[in-house]
Amino acid sequence: MEPDQGPAPVVGTVARRGGGRAAMQPLLRWETGLVVAAFAILLLGIAVSSEFLTNGNFFYLCISVGEVAIMTLPLTFIIIAGEIDLSVASTLGLASALVGYLWTQGWPMPAIIPTVLAMGVVTGAFNGLLVTRLGLPSLAVTIGTLTLYRGIAIILLGPDTISNFPFSYTKIGVDPVPGIPFLSYSVLIFLILAAIFGVVLHFTRFGRSLFAIGTNQEAALFAGIRVKRIKLLLFILSGVVCSAAGILYTLRLSTAVQGNGLGLELSAVAIVLLGGVSIFGGKGSIFGVVLAVFVFAGLQNALFLSNFNELALGIVTGGLLLVSVLVPNLGSFAERARDLFKRRARRGSAAAAARQA
């Protein structure tokens, strides 16, 4: 689970990271691959169904991926910083349950929204404090809170389904953004957030420090980066953004049930890794993740139109995830195979020499 980092040449690594163009090149190649994949999926979609290129279908595509897409942004930050947050979908579910619960208690919507966002601060801070103050592995902590937050959602709502939300809010699930008939509000929010996250990650000190932490936490600390505080901030950010996604999810479906967003953490992790972010931290870009969102959603949509069993889409999600982590390793496979052959050959010639002698 944790990377087997040998005694890394500390100074050299940091210098290379900061060095700009040379470090960006493999990323650019990965993103070029994603663009090609996106085009291939576009062609696949057109081939399977005449429905694919319609405004209605693209709106459906946007609607289906919007909230997951939003959750990938803070997750990208967290993974680049060398941690993980598996509780994102449960935070979404808990936010959704809280929206429903407060609504049945007669709260007005303008009061519910800030309350649920504040809940996101609390859930995120809980994750973050356990990771930074107690020094627990984020993997174990967020598997725990994945269960805990979903559990609280179940306690809040029980078997109830709450769906009497006012149409002035739930219309975001039916109406596209005015003037752009294929764009949903959720994807509009995603694109705006992606621009902000992209600027923060790639053009600010804070963003650079995430790469430094993910590459070598010790070195980052000695370079004066407040590692713990930044990690805590990232988890809080994730909590807030995921609860915002939970509000959108609830209003979009006009339904609050205990199981909202169940299992979406995998989709979010899969998209982030498909976007070229390294699970070991220190590598990745928001641009790649945005491309991955569209590759992921496009493929699911194309398969959906071709009458592929919707529940079996996990095969595709899982397959994409595997491909995205195996492909970057291909180079090292080739190297290892070459090494093995060389060693074999050497051993073979040595044996032959021994036989001759």
């Binding site: 269960t147 979903r150 529940l311 095969i315």
Partner: protein
């Protein structure tokens, strides 16, 4: 070193301290378990009825089996998230044999279930060791891929109890002196695995790999082979658990075992196995499974809604890892103090 007087008792003291702390972990679970049973039984005597206890025990055996397999993987600083999906696939395919080929022997069905598990374990193991992909990512992916295959195979249908032979459905029901036979067999199995991990070289090597992979490699331990083996064992165990699940519940659709992986990991961690490897025992993990299951049925007997199950499981998991961390910190500090005194 050994010639210096006073050194030997210090190291044995330290060793004793480590020993005590690890034993305390299992005693702690047993104590909590005892307290839980006592309090629940005082409030609701029905809790100690034979049928209730038998049900908890059989349920626990399936759960404990998975926890034991998972422990072996976790010891090596890896994780297997696919166990729930493997259980589901194995439960459906093995039980489906009775419907598709009437007269299939029970032994064949068990072999098929275990075989499916081994195949999944081999895939996980190869991707992790040869593919050099972190096992978290590999098994997250196979969790969904195997479940997807399950959904495609099952379609909308399900296996119902009436299509299963009675001899098969009776397996979890058989008892000796009131104790389910299955629980006895599994308890013996757990004891054997515990002995293997404690006393055999390849068993100890799993701990070495989890404690420090780099040091293990330099010490000449075949890490790849050992890790691969743990995934195969975990898969085989999940396959076996699937067949038992089919016998216990009778009705199997494509959702059997969904979300089980996190409960299994919770049991393992509550049982004192460190999530980043290197320490813990299968007996602890099995006790962790027993504790979580007992809590569930105690809540049920006490009339507390089962909507609380998941929140309690999550809370326990976090408490367990936090406590574990605090104990380790204290222990390292204590050991350091002692060795300084000795020097």
């Amino acid at each position: 070193m050994t010639a210096v007087p006073g050194t030997a008792p210090v190291t044995s003291n330290a060793a004793r301290l480590v020993d005590v702390v690890f034993r305390i972990r299992e005693f702690g679970i047993i104590a909590v378990l005892g307290l839980l049973v006592l309090v629940t039984a005082l409030i609701q005597t029905r809790f100690l009825s034979m049928s209730e206890l038998q049900f908890v025990l059989v349920d626990t055996t399936i759960f404990a089996l998975l926890a034991v397999g998972e422990t072996m993987v976790v010891l090596t600083r890896n994780v297997d998230l696919s166990v729930g999906s493997v259980l589901g696939l194995s439960a459906f395919l093995s039980a489906d044999m009775f419907g598709k080929h009437p007269g299939t022997s029970i032994v064949t069905v068990f072999a098929i279930g275990i075989g499916i598990g081994v195949a999944c374990g081999v895939a996980n193991g190869l991707l992790t060791t040869i593919g050099r992909v972190p096992s978290l990512v590999v098994t997250l992916a196979t969790l969904y891929i195997i479940r997807g295959i399950d959904v495609l195979l099952v379609g909308g249908g399900q296996v119902v109890a009436s299509s299963l032979p009675n001899s098969f459905l009776n397996i979890p029901q058989a008892t000796t002196f009131g104790i389910p036979d299955l629980a006895i067999v599994i308890a013996v199995g757990v004891a054997l695995v515990a002995y293997y991990l404690r006393s055999y070289r390849s068993g100890r090597e799993l701990y070495a790999i989890g404690s420090n992979p780099e040091a293990a490699r330099l010490a000449g331990i075949p890490i790849g082979r050992r890790v691969f083996m743990t995934f195969v064992v975990s898969g085989a165990v999940a396959g076996l658990a699937g067949v038992l699940w089919a016998a216990q519940y009778g009705t199997i659709d494509s959702t059997a075992g969904t979300g089980y992986e996190l409960q299994v990991i919770a049991a393992v961690v509550v049982g004192g196995v460190a999530i980043f490897g290197g320490s813990g025992t299968v007996i602890g993990a099995a006790l962790g499974a027993l504790l979580l299951n007992t809590i569930n049925s105690a809540l049920y007997v006490l009339g507390i809604s089962n909507y609380w199950d998941q929140a309690i499981a999550g809370f326990l998991l976090i408490t367990a890892i936090a406590l574990d961390r605090l104990i380790t910190v204290q222990l390292t500090a204590a050991l350091r103090r002692r060795s300084r005194l000795g020097a």
